[in-house]
């Protein structure tokens, strides 16, 4: 089954088109990387795919069901999904309470073991009692990952999830993403401008330029034998912006 299906999706802000006629099918159990330079609409694409924003035209379906943009009606499908924003926000409570949020809103009472497991996956076992608003950037991202995965979503969307982090935190998070995907057979979509990261962890890659998808295919092929000249220029670093 297709996990997320975007069909002829367009979006503009203040009359300026950001995405134009995007068709993208994210298959189950894959790690799809959306690459492209800054400002081409990668984040917008992810926000649309998560249902946070509504497209001007086109349809988006999650696990085969089109979004209606009525949060109440979409919730059963959206609850299969988690989205880590580029700049995660910590609620004003402890790390453990933050991580347990997704369980609380699903009325799951037995949170302790799940929270402990999620924190362990990102190397934050000892930090549960700390105030989340006091975490460093890397710790915040790791907590956000634990918070997004604790309720075991089948679809995980990550927007520049390691931007501005030190190599150690990047390593911890990338390993956690890959491990989560393998353990849960999850579908993962990452937006990144880091080509090395896309190559390291994704199984499929798509290039977004000027609000349109240029080429989509297995990561190895996109980087080694791209069909499109613009893809070749972008992945080789020849494209100047």
């Amino acid at each position: 089954m297709t996990a997320i299906d975007l069909s002829d999706v367009s979006k503009a802000y203040d009359g300026n088109p950001v995405l134009s006629g995007v068709d993208l099918a994210v298959e189950e159990n894959e790690i799809l990387a959306i690459i492209g330079p800054s400002g081409v609409g990668k984040t917008t694409l992810l926000r649309l795919a998560s249902g946070l924003e509504r497209p001007d035209s086109g349809t988006i379906a999650i696990l085969g069901t089109p979004l209606t943009y009525d949060n109440g009606r979409d919730l059963p499908f959206k609850r299969h999904m988690a989205f880590i924003l580029q700049k995660p926000v910590a609620f004003k409570e402890t790390v453990s309470e933050n991580v347990a949020y997704g369980l609380r809103v699903r009325d799951i009472d037995d949170t302790e073991d799940r929270v402990a497991h999620a924190l362990e996956a990102v190397g934050m076992t000892e930090m549960g009692d700390r105030m989340a608003t006091r975490l460093s950037g890397g710790e915040m991202q790791r907590m956000a990952f634990a918070r997004a995965t604790v309720f075991e979503p089948s679809i995980l969307l990550l927007d520049e999830f390691t931007a501005n982090l030190d190599p150690q935190n990047v390593g911890v998070l990338e390993r956690a993403v890959v491990a989560y995907q393998r353990e849960r057979n999850a579908t993962v979509v990452i937006v990144t401008h880091n080509l090395f990261q896309a190559r390291r962890i994704s199984t499929r890659t798509t290039l977004l330029l000027g609000g349109r998808l240029v080429e989509t295919g297995p990561t190895e092929r996109i980087f080694e034998e791209p069909e499109e000249e613009r893809t070749r220029a972008f992945v080789s670093g020849e494209m100047v912006f």
Partner: protein, 214 residues
């Protein structure tokens, strides 16, 4: 004198505390709703609220007096010159403050908090609750500022309460009376009690602000 002092202090707390409770029960949900959802005429309501911050207490007292007097539309309630009338006047004065400050506090919570709650599977009610929780210090501040305004108020309560001994006399109206009588020492003692109350409000606020920072 000591027993009267206790009575006046207790009545001040009872009247202002009840008025604050009622104003909070009205102002916090309405202020939150205005901040969280697009409302028809929301902008006009905000302008009205902020204008009401400077609503003259004596005018509030006059309006409540006219409403509750025997010829007024609410005269049948027989509330004039009772603590009940003083509560009504204080509710009228502080509800816009509690509502306006709650609105500001909830509006200041960034859209990313809503987005985060949404992406973690919260329904609309849970999202609103999360935003309110994030704004809790601001909401507590709104309630405390309302209480501070209520206990310090004199103009409205003297008009609708009448400053009747053992019945409607509160700290502020007692200070006015004792100053007129030339009992300055007693007036200063009453003033000191008011100050202690104001300090207590500040300490409660500081506690919550500090707890929020930890």
């Amino acid at each position: 004198m000591a027993s009267e002092l206790l009575y006046v202090t207790a009545l001040t707390l009872a009247v202002s505390g009840t008025a604050t409770l009622i104003a909070s029960l009205i102002g916090v949900p309405l202020g939150s709703r205005l901040a969280l959802r697009e409302t028809v005429g929301g902008r006009a309501i905000k302008v009205f609220l902020y204008t009401m911050y400077g609503f003259p207490p004596v005018l509030a007292g006059l309006i409540v007096y006219l409403m509750l007097s025997s010829d007024g539309p609410l005269g049948f309630l027989d509330l004039l010159f009772t603590p009940g009338a003083m509560i009504v006047a204080q509710v009228l004065l502080i509800t816009p403050i509690v509502m306006g400050l709650t609105l500001s506090a909830v509006s200041e919570v960034g859209p990313e908090v809503k987005d985060t709650a949404k992406t973690l599977g919260a329904n609309d009610r849970q999202i609103s609750r999360t935003v309110l929780r994030e704004a809790r210090v601001g909401v507590i501040t709104a309630v405390m500022v309302g209480f501070g305004r209520a206990i310090a108020e004199v103009g409205a309560v003297i008009i609708v309460g009448g400053n009747i001994q053992w019945h409607t006399r509160v700290l502020t109206t007692a200070i006015v009376l004792e100053t007129r009588r030339g009992n300055f020492e007693y007036a200063v003692v009453l003033g000191a009690i008011l100050l202690v109350m104001a300090l207590s409000v500040y300490l409660v606020l500081s506690y919550y602000q500090e707890r929020d920072r930890r």
